[in-house]
Amino acid sequence: MSRTARLVLFFAALLVAVPLGILGLIGLPSFGHHVSTYGDVVDAMGTDLRHVTNMVALVTFDVRGFDTLGEEFILFSAVTGVTMLLRGDRGEGTSADPVRIPHRRREGRSEAVTGTARWLGPMTLLFGIYVTLHGQLTPGGGFQGGSIIAAATLLIYLGEGYPAWRKIVRSVLLDLSEAAGVGIYLVAGLVPLLAGATYLENILPLGEVGSLLSGGLIPILNAGVALAVAGGFCSIAIEFLEETREPNEDET
């Protein structure tokens, strides 16, 4: 099919689909005035029932915690897929040399970059941990914290260069972190099941409202997600950066 024919086909489809779509969207409750009974019930009883202040975390990790388990495994599968598909192309090379690009001067890292990264890296790491731990209280949690931790390890790469980064951040460790992350989630759900409750039931002591350890199961699940997300994004970053390296001499 020629490109013109394809576009004609597409716009013909739009001619029918767009009016219908608008007709359907108009049926939605007026923007800014929708009162969701589901959300209202959660907002109304969440703090009393689970001693947490972040209702989004309550939904993500408790009320609809099983969905989040599935989402974590989507991430897990995508990362496993990425590492499987980039397998062995360049080996686990620690070659310092980026592939040479013609017409481009290679520049060393400036000291300013190294210094900034050395200072910023640990700060970011701490911030990621902070965001994870406060997930049940304030905006944030395992998903955001884990991404920030992954970003922090990328700062190691900026500051110390690729070989040092590969020495500090090992792929095996990342696999382990990822597996442990989803493992924590799975097992944390199993424990109540073995104790006679339902899967993922929040039967731990709930703690004081506003304290770091409030929410029972929620902080544990948050930590699991943070491990899995951090490990996952780091694995992806490593695999991708490996692709920009010159293969080591001894590997073919």
Binding site: P139, Q144, F240, E243
Partner: protein, 80 residues
């Protein structure tokens, strides 16, 4: 409310920008811009949780992955 409307229109425009920027290296910038505006929109919609993860991922990690891919695409010899 005006803020929400303004951000919505910005999202519409930056989204169009992503589609119409056909040169991948410039598209990365468009993606980052779109991600950032989306994050701000989510803040305005009283969804700080989503906004944080959108800002970290949509305007930092994801564009970074695109950039690294582009870098290695330029260097791969096709061993056809």
């Amino acid at each position: 409310m005006i803020l929400v409307v303004a951000l919505l229109l910005l999202v519409a425009v930056t989204g169009l920008g992503v589609v119409l920027t056909r040169e991948p290296r410039r598209q990365v910038l468009a993606i980052a811009a779109n991600g950032l505006v989306m994050g701000l929109l989510f803040l305005a919609l009283q969804a700080p949780d989503v906004a944080y993860s959108q800002i970290v991922i949509g305007s930092a990690i994801q564009p970074l992955l695109f950039m690294v891919t582009l870098a290695s695409l330029r260097t791969t010899r096709s061993d056809k």
